[in-house]
């Protein structure tokens, strides 16, 4: 799961971001937690638990010393209209990704994909696992046996075993303790 913190945006802007994410199927299953903060103080206190920051321009400018070291994980919402020669404007003068008030949904999703592909963010996305594999991993991390997982997910024990093998190959982790730790690190439990 990827946790997104939003600060300094209007309700409409937040709805726009959420709507765009819903239409990005490859991320729908993982970006299940978007937290909107009213006050910067609350946002800062929770920043350690967040993977991505989506921030309005005034808040960004007032707290530039916080966002600059984290610019790879920050998306700035610029209230201005996008200039016509737009290619160079994907990042602002400080090198932070930005989208303008009049950005299309396609432009927003391109920007979000680019943000998700950052190495600092990618590690937490665990996009390699299928939804079913994540479900199996979650139950395994909760201490369930293969039989119990099969009953919970309404699949056969052999299918659970196959999913477990695939998870181990994809993650390079074999032991139950290691898989539980991975689930914990990635917000699956």
């Amino acid at each position: 799961m990827s946790r997104i913190g939003v600060i300094g945006l209007s309700s409409l802007e937040v709805m726009g971001i959420k709507g765009t994410l819903v239409n990005m199927p490859e991320y729908t299953s993982i970006t299940t937690e978007i937290t909107v903060f009213e006050h910067y103080q609350d946002f800062q206190q929770n920043a350690d638990k967040l993977d991505l920051f989506i921030v309005g321009l005034p808040v960004f400018v007032s707290n530039i010393e916080f966002f600059m070291p984290r610019k790879a994980r920050t998306l700035l919402i610029n209230p201005e209209i996008k200039p016509s020669c737009s290619e160079k404007e994907e990042k602002n003068n400080s090198g932070v990704r930005q989208i303008f008030r009049n950005a299309t949904e396609e432009e927003i999703s391109v920007m979000l994909r680019s943000l998700f592909s950052e190495p600092e963010v990618k590690g937490n996305v665990s996009g390699d696992l299928s939804i079913r594999e994540k479900e199996v991993l979650t139950e395994l991390a909760r201490g369930k046996t293969n039989k119990e997982i099969a009953d919970i997910l309404s699949i056969s024990v052999n299918t659970v075993i196959t999913h477990r093998k695939n998870i181990s190959v994809k993650l390079g982790i074999k032991s139950v303790s290691g898989l539980s730790l991975y689930a914990l690190m990635n917000g699956l439990i």
């Binding site: 590690g123 390079g172 074999k174 303790s177 290691g178």
Partner: protein, 226 residues
């Protein structure tokens, strides 16, 4: 991969894979071996030569299966060797990994970005505790029994006294997972040099445990099942 015999020079063995230094150390042999053959060194130090060759070849070569262990290899000598290996883990290798881990965490906590190092350290502590349990079981139960000093019925008790001394593969798997966590899944800011130090210490531990498990499986197990 070469198979060494009594006429092989010990220096050739060590130069082929220097990690074997730890193995010969456990027999009381230290660096500065000159051009002595394995036969002459074993005579000089009073070491059981078939046991020495079985251990060194099994340690170095994953495809080597010593033949005719029973009646040819000295069980007491093997247990002495394994006991020293256990002490090497508990007194040298585990504290070494732990020391590097603690230093890495202390240098990384102050950084701005969150990292998952504390969770990895917790996983390492689980591995450490499990390895220490195995060692404790070896030293308190299995080895005295196999030497005929303790409970002689232990060989038949199986799981009642914990894992058998040649069945530590889960531990091997966990150490491998821990290394893979560093290599594949590490995120956040951390001290790169200290991170490499932790991974190197873990790789050394993993390699020694893998090779030691091979020795237990191919030499100790046949002797236990006699």
């Amino acid at each position: 991969m070469p198979v060494y015999n009594r006429d092989s020079k010990l220096s050739d063995v060590i130069l082929y894979d220097p990690s074997v230094i730890q193995v010969v150390n456990r027999f009381g042999i230290f660096l500065g071996v000159g051009d002595s053959t394995i036969r002459s060194i074993c005579e000089e130090y009073g070491i059981d030569e078939p046991l020495f060759l079985s251990i060194v070849n099994t340690y170095l070569n994953r495809n080597y299966f010593p033949e005719g262990i029973a009646g040819r290899v000295n069980l007491r000598g093997l247990l002495d060797y394994l006991e020293k290996t256990d002490y090497y883990y508990s007194r040298i290798l585990l504290p070494n990994v732990e020391r590097h881990f603690t230093l890495l965490i202390s240098k990384s906590v102050a950084s701005e970005e969150p990292s998952n190092l504390q969770l990895l350290q917790r996983f390492f502590m689980e591995v450490k505790s499990e390895l220490l349990d195995v060692i404790d079981n070896d030293l308190r139960n299995w080895f005295p029994a196999l030497r005929g000093e303790g409970d002689k019925t232990i060989r038949n008790k199986g799981s009642e006294v914990g894992r058998k001394p040649y069945d530590n593969y889960v531990l091997e798997e966990k150490i491998s997972d821990l290394i893979n966590f560093f290599v594949i899944h590490l995120r956040g800011k951390y001290d790169h040099n200290l991170c490499v130090a932790v991974v190197s210490a873990l790789v050394t531990l993993e390699k020694d445990i893998q090779q030691n498990n091979r020795i237990r499986d191919r030499i100790l197990k046949p002797l236990c099942q006699e």
